[in-house]
């Protein structure tokens, strides 16, 4: 698979389609599975990891599942290519930075990916655009069934799917919803949301998962508990709480439009102006400015800009994407210059198209 072609398209999860897509970026189901006959990845020798990889690669390429998954061996890839896959959310930062035989199988649409030799032998995930938890679960469940036909999972009746970390045991499932909550951040109500979610055992993380800053006002909400509840119970709990957060964000947006219209308009316009004109731009600033622009588009303050294009910019301005798009390695300063140029060109293109 030619990874460079990835930059010419966008993951399905960015499509800004699906229900509530102005606030819900994507839904994601991740299942952790292990082979019963091997030690967990952290205790497996390089030889064993190679065996695991060989075994899973063969089965992943042969399972009766559409779309066909293509396996990418991560070990020989450059750090840049691995980073590219991280930015597209096809692999975790941990898998990118770990050692030894490991890989990922995914299809062109990038809805589905299966990591091999991450913390668990198998980590499969489904990401879908919009508020589509159930659909994502159906895909993940189907893929899991198909793989299980070929692969004996580590499972016991008491504890369910056995995982390297006890925090994942049971269903091995992490269901998450990525929300764009700029108005709750602007009105300083986001902390309230955090506290409420923590009370009901839901975790809140940034765009790139655990430990990442919530840049661009993106927040990922996911279950903490994996044991003692069925997958549908867990998904229902999240599915039931998300509309409340959506409403809360919508109320905050309405309040901003009503009471601070000029300030919000100013913020959005300035962000747009800086993005269309700056000569240097860090990734962090890009996220923050694009977040304001995204809010502006959703509030109707900026006309005729495709929200999908804005979503895409969030990803295409990440370091690895930028370098791939330009076809060469760049140091941090060069990236800031090229990122600014890229944003200028893209945003002006959009403007003139409309």
């Amino acid at each position: 698979m030619n990874l460079d072609s990835l930059t010419e398209q966008s993951g399905e999860w960015l499509r800004a389609s699906g229900p509530e897509a102005d606030i819900v970026i994507s839904c994601r189901i991740r299942l952790a599975r292990n082979l019963s006959s091997f030690p967990f990845t952290n205790r497996a020798s390089t030889h064993q990891k190679a065996e695991i990889e060989q075994y899973l690669k063969g089965r992943l390429e042969k399972i009766d599942f559409e779309p066909r998954l293509e396996y990418v061996n991560l070990a020989p890839l450059s750090a840049l290519d691995r980073q590219l896959l991280v930015e597209r959310q096809l692999i975790s930062r941990e898998l990118a930075n770990s050692e030894g035989p490991r890989g990922v199988a995914f299809a062109g649409s990038e809805i589905i990916s299966v990591m091999v030799n991450e913390e668990d032998h198998v980590r499969m995930q489904v990401i879908r655009s919009g508020f589509t938890l159930d659909e994502a679960w159906q895909d993940a469940d189907r893929l899991d069934d198909k793989l299980e036909e070929k692969v004996p999972y580590a499972f016991n009746e008491e504890l369910g799917y056995l995982t390297a970390c006890p925090t994942n045991v049971g269903t091995g499932m992490r269901a998450s919803v990525m929300l764009h909550l700029p108005a709750l951040v602007l009105t300083k109500q986001i902390e309230k949301v955090f506290r409420a979610l923590q009370k009901i055992n839901l975790a809140v993380r940034g765009l790139y998962g655990e430990g990442s800053r919530a840049s661009g006002d993106f927040y990922q909400i996911s279950n903490q508990v994996t044991l003692g509840k069925s997958e549908t119970t867990i998904i229902n709990e999240i599915r039931d709480v998300v509309p409340n957060i959506i409403n809360y964000e919508r109320q905050a947006r309405q309040a901003l439009t009503r009471e601070n219209h000029a300030q919000v308009l100013d913020r959005v316009r300035r962000a747009f102006g800086v993005l269309k004109n700056a000569a240097m731009m860090t990734s962090e600033e890009t996220m923050d400015l694009l977040s304001s622009v995204r809010l502006g588009v959703n509030l109707g303050l900026i006309d005729d800009i495709d929200i999908f294009k804005v979503n895409e910019l969030f990803i295409h301005t990440q370091p690895a994407h930028l370098q791939k798009l330009l076809g060469r390695q760049l140091d941090s300063e060069e990236r800031n210059t090229e990122r600014a140029r890229f944003l200028r060109n893209r945003l002006r293109e959009m403007d003139s198209l409309n």
Binding site: N34, S36, F38, P39, F40, N42, R43, E119, D141, D144, D145, E148, E149, P152, Y153, A154, F155, N156, E157, E158, L159, G160, Y161, L162, A164, C165, P166, T167, V169, G170, T171, M173, Q198, N201, A203, Q224, V225, T226, L227, G228, K229, S230, E231, T233, I234
Partner: protein, 159 residues
């Protein structure tokens, strides 16, 4: 070597308290202070910690078990926060159960089951049912039905 966090004696009991989001907190006390620690922590964080601490005491007092498959001890898990293989869940069951209780609030899986796994389970249940129906068919002398059930049982048994 750790000193007891409640007096100056050497600590012989090492407790790992599990906090939210799989974070761990280490405690070191001596045997004299241990009952008092238990009492406090019980009122503080509930019974789960106590059983965990109880398991820890057991471990501390009666030696450390090792997984025969992957070779890790429970202390290795405490350091890496990762188990070595699926058998560890059985080997360290006493230590893990209170921890799981603490993380998930539950200790029994009630979600999805691999299809192949319940297939055998299902087959057994089906066989039990088929054998009962065969027995009843024989009782009422419906041997046509009995022959059909006999063949069906054979098919399931051979699957």
């Amino acid at each position: 070597m750790h000193k007891c966090e409640r007096c100056a004696s050497p600590a012989t009991v090492h407790i790992t308290e599990v906090l939210a989001e799989a974070k761990f907190e280490e405690h070191h006390v001596c045997e004299t202070c241990y009952p008092k620690y238990m009492e406090d922590s019980q009122t503080k964080t509930g019974a789960a910690i106590t059983s965990d601490a109880g398991a820890e005491l057991e471990e501390a007092l009666f030696g450390q078990q090792e997984c025969p498959d992957c070779g890790i001890k429970f202390v290795d898990f405490r350091n890496s926060h990762r188990l070595g293989c699926s058998r560890d869940y059985q080997v360290f069951q006493n230590e893990l159960l209170p921890l799981l209780e603490n993380i998930h609030g539950e200790t029994r899986h009630c979600g999805k089951t691999p299809r192949r796994y319940p297939q055998t389970k299902l087959a057994e249940a089906e066989l039990t049912q088929l054998r009962q129906r065969l027995k009843r068919a024989v009782e009422r002398e419906d041997y046509e039905e009995a022959a059909r059930l006999r063949d069906q049982i054979k098919t399931v048994e051979d699957a």
